[in-house]
Every structure is written in structure tokens, then in C-alpha cells.
Assembly symmetry: C2
Homo-oligomer: 320 residues x 2
């Protein structure tokens, strides 16, 4: 069976997987990125990790068809270089020939792609999107990203930047986003956005259970403490998630009006609070879309969890 | 040179064109739709009009490669039937085998497509979008629609409904839209939306020149009277267009974050007030998009005017 290696390079951790053509994981290595130790340290670590997963699968580099690399930033896919990442330190804010270096070192083809696009690619091929032709996949985490599969192809856009869902404006005068604008969906419904909103309204709700869970310290409010409060029936905590879900529903309706997919797949860390965000999200979505979309577009939760990016990276070397 | 006929069936008029492979118009017939006289009347009129343009071009049905038909509603492209149009009367709210009937009558292939998609197709092939691979085209008129060309193909979506740009929410609690929701860009920046907004704020601005131009009657406020006032330097009239342009800029930034095109082409009747809407639109657009888009996405005004839909329909029979 055909095999490939997938590298998911993130700001906090690196996940390297050996994957077969069915998307099954045959070897895995996950380590902290330690980007502060410099670019060469990170690249050498990736090389070691690739050796490790090959060994686990009892194969050599000759047995794999390629190495896919998911990168959290901008890249030049032709030159196989990374151009800019906000979260990997200064050395990654200029061009790094990551793909080319691994290609020469292992003597196999490499493929560079945006990390969230690879989550979409994996979910479409072997996850929650399989069986569809056209799908959008949204990753809710510290930030919000998305990937688009159109008629069985990853749509990366004219400049490789399609699917920047996090920076859709849903509230023109809303909270300030990391990008500098106001009211991006990321500023409202990402983990960071939810926490900021909670901190802004908690002072008016001194009876909320969140206060106890964060030791009376607003700095300690996290999606996790809000979730715990919601689990105990705290109305404010539930309202906080409803607020995020409402705006997500609007943003997704916008997305669907443009792309017209069969399915929306939702993943990422914040999707863990799905029971609280999912209902208001779907309600507002179906309220906002034109009637002709209502019985045609469905939702699924992502199926591949934290391995999605690495699996997608490997599958990019096997299917394009 | 290859030739085809394009039919642009609209709520108020029908435009039929004989077009060559360069997009040049060799024959034309434009007539009122008179939808109130019934579906068979309209279909017979279209047949007559096609005969007329063939005669003008001194060709017969054997000399054309097909007939493209632009339809303002939902359709079944495979069955070549129209399914639903809001503005053509009750008979067009159920299935009409328009494409099939013309195909049998003229014995040439027919192609059915959404009217705004065909404007995009024409602008991409022979208008303001030529030379690009990926483009979005927005038509600002009584309503707001759009079409998407991705890598040289019309993207119609999984259910033929992609590019429903008019129903992107830009202001969740904004004015009510014809679709029943609040704050769709169509409810704010279409001709109808601009007029509604003007009527809502005019009572607080008794010194506006618009009052004189509409004979003191709010019902007579139109985009045209607002435009005339703006031309005379009326501040309120200019503010009214700024308001539409501001929200259009936001909606277009959303569009670009998702699709990542090379170019945005803007057309339609309201585009006539381009000098007033264009500047705030572009300013807010470039303020809202991520920096990586700023030097990559450009604007153009549509070039084909009122013939765009008919030219696009004919070109759909020649290129797909």
C-alpha cells in the first residue's frame, strides 16, 4: 500500500505521521516545537522525527511517495519555501527553504501547504467530509481558519490565501481582532475571542460560577473554566457560548452563500464545547441562509482530531 | 467564426443577441418581457426574437453552435428547465422546460445558467476580467448578485447556487432584507436598499437638495434623485452613497477572504453612481482585508454594460 509522511508544524508542537493511502497512521512522533531555539534546531528536529516514524513503520525513505508539510503561515508552494509565520519567531518571518531542504535530505518529493487547508483535505478524503464533492472545513481554536474542497480539489485561491474565514467581518463595530480590524469572527468566536468576551461581561455578573472556577481572577478565565461552569448549569457561561455560536452561524451562512458546499465540517480545539456552541450556531445558520440552501447543506463535527493536519499533509503527497 | 445566440430573460425585459466567438454582437433584439401575459407568450416572444437576430446576422439556426439562456432564478441545468423565479409571475414559480423547448424548436443545443453568473462569464472572457484566471463579478442593481470564475471555470457551487453575495450579512441587526433576514448587503447597498436608507434619514435633514428633486415626496426618492443631489454637492446625498459603499467594502472583503481572487469586477445599474460608491467601497475594502491581500486584489468596473448577460449566455454555448 502507498505511504507518505506528513509533518504538521505548529507554534507549540510538531506532529509527524507515517500514513498509508487509506489515511491510517502507521507511525507517529509528537514533540514540542521549541521555536525559540531557532530555525535550524526546528528543522533538525523535524528530520529526526521523520526518521523515527519511518523506523516505527519499518520502512525507509525509498518506500514513501513523499513528505507533506503543513505550515501555519504564508508560503511559496512552487519554491517549497515558507515566507512568513506569525508564531514561530523572527527567523520564520522571512523565507525558509523548508520543503527544499527536506527534499534534498530525504531524496523524496515534498509538498508545502497551509495547515488548515490540510485539515480540510484530510477530513474530506478520510474524515467527516468523505463522500461529498464540495465541502468547507472550519477549525475553531486559538484562532479560526478554514479550508475549501471544490469538486474534489483543494481550492487555495489565486494567491494561496483562500478560506481566510477567521477574518470575515460579522460585526463592523465589534471587538478588535489581532489583525487590527473590528468584528472579525475570530475576534468573537475563537478561544481567545470567547475568553475576551467573558472577561468583558463577567464584572456585571458577580453571581456566575465562572468566578469561583477562575479564583476570582479574570486573567484565569479560559474556555475550559467557562465550559466547566456551563456544565454546572451556569447561565452566563451558556450565554457566552451562545454569543459565539450566534455569530459563527452568521459567518457560516455568509460562507455558504458564496461557496455553496454540500457540507460544513467543524473541528479544532474549541469544537470540544460543541454541545454549547453547536446549537445556537446551527440555529442562526439555518435562519440566515436562503431557503434554497436549507435542506441542502449539512453540518458534521470533524473526525480526525489532532492528527488531522498530519494526516492531511501525508495525503497531499499521495493525492492532489 | 463560431457564433451562438444568447438570451437574457429578465423581469422587465428580454435581451437576445447573436454573438461571435470574440464576444462581438452581430444582431440584437430587446423587448419588454410582459410576463403578465403568461409563460407561453414569453416563450413565443423569445423564439421570435431569436429568429430576428439570426436574420440580422444573415445566418440560420444551422450556423450557430447553441443558445445560451440567462435566467433570474433557480434552474435544473441537466434537465434544461427553470424551477423558480420570483419576478416572472406564478407560472415561473414551478418547472418550465424552457431550454428543452428551444432546443427542440431550433434543433441546436441550449444551455441554462443564472443570469448574474453569465454577466461574470462575459466579463471574464471578453470584458473587465480578461487576462485573469480567477475573478469575482458583482452586479449592483435593484438587487445584488455575483458570479465567480475560478481558474477559468464558472464556479456554480454544489447546488448551482454559489455567489449569492446579496445575502451576506454585514450588519446582524440591520435593515430587513427581501429574504426576511436582517442586514444582508442587498438590504443596504442595492438600489432598493439605498433608497430605503435615504427615506429613513431624510426626515432629519430637511435642508437636503433631495427634497426638491423628489417634489417633497419620499416615495419619489430614487437612486437617480440622490445622484442628482450629490452632483449638486448635497452632503446628505453623498453620505447616503458613502454608507452603501462602506458596507459594500466590508462585504467584498469577506468575499475576498474566502475566494482569494485576482480581481473584483463591479457592474450593474447602481454602478453608474460609481464615483460616489467606489471610493468608500475601496477604502473600507482595503482597510478590512488582511495585509497579504492588499497589493494582490484589484478592482475594475464592468465593461459590457447591459449586454453583459446576453453576451455571457451566448459565450456559454461556445466556451465552458
Amino acid at each position: 500500500m502507498r505511504k507518505a509522511v506528513g509533518v504538521d508544524l505548529g507554534g507549540t508542537k510538531i506532529n509527524v505521521l507515517l500514513v498509508n493511502e487509506k489515511g491510517e497512521v502507521l507511525g507517529r512522533d509528537k514533540q514540542p516545537t521549541e521555536a525559540d531555539r531557532g530555525k535550524d534546531y526546528v528543522i533538525n528536529k523535524i528530520k529526526d522525527m521523520i526518521h523515527n516514524v519511518l523506523q516505527q513503520g519499518r520502512v525507509s525513505e525509498k518506500d514513501i511517495e513523499g513528505i507533506g508539510i503543513g505550515f501555519p503561515g504564508l508560503m511559496d508552494r512552487e519554491k517549497k519555501s515558507t515566507l512568513y509565520a506569525p508564531n514561530l519567531g523572527d527567523e520564520w518571518k522571512k523565507e525558509v527553504f523548508l520543503g527544499r531542504e527536506l527534499e534534498e535530505y530525504f531524496n523524496v518529493p515534498t509538498y508545502l501547504e497551509n495547515d488548515v487547508n490540510l485539515i480540510a483535505w484530510a477530513e474530506w478524503l478520510v474524515g467527516a467530509g468523505r463522500g461529498t464533492k464540495t465541502m468547507i472545513c472550519v477549525a475553531l481554536g486559538t484562532g479560526i481558519g478554514s479550508g475549501i474542497v471544490l469538486n474534489g480539489k483543494l481550492w487555495i485561491g489565486a494567491h494561496g490565501m483562500a478560506g481566510e474565514f477567521g477574518h470575515i467581518t460579522v460585526l463592523p463595530d465589534g471587538p478588535i481582532c489581532g489583525c487590527g480590524n473590528r468584528g472579525c469572527i475570530e475576534a468573537i468566536a475563537s478561544g481567545t475571542g470567547i475568553e475576551k468576551y467573558a472577561r468583558s461581561i463577567l464584572p456585571q455578573h458577580t453571581d456566575s460560577l465562572i468566578w469561583g472556577l477562575c479564583n476570582g481572577n479574570l486573567e484565569e478565565v479560559t474556555v475550559k473554566t467557562i465550559y466547566q461552569a456551563a456544565e454546572q448549569g451556569d447561565k452566563l457561561a451558556i450565554d457566552i457560548f451562545n454569543h459565539a455560536g450566534y455569530y459563527l452561524g452568521i459567518a457560516l451562512a455568509n460562507y455558504v452563500h458564496i461557496v455553496d458546499p454540500e457540507k460544513i465540517v467543524i473541528g479544532g480545539g474549541v469544537a470540544n464545547v460543541r454541545e454549547y456552541i453547536g446549537k445556537p450556531m446551527r440555529e442562526e445558520f439555518y435562519r440566515r441562509v436562503l431557503p434554497s440552501f436549507r435542506d441542502k447543506v449539512t453540518f458534521s463535527w470533524a473526525e480526525l482530531g489532532e492528527d488531522a493536519g498530519g494526516i492531511g499533509a501525508a495525503l497531499l503527497a499521495l493525492y492532489r
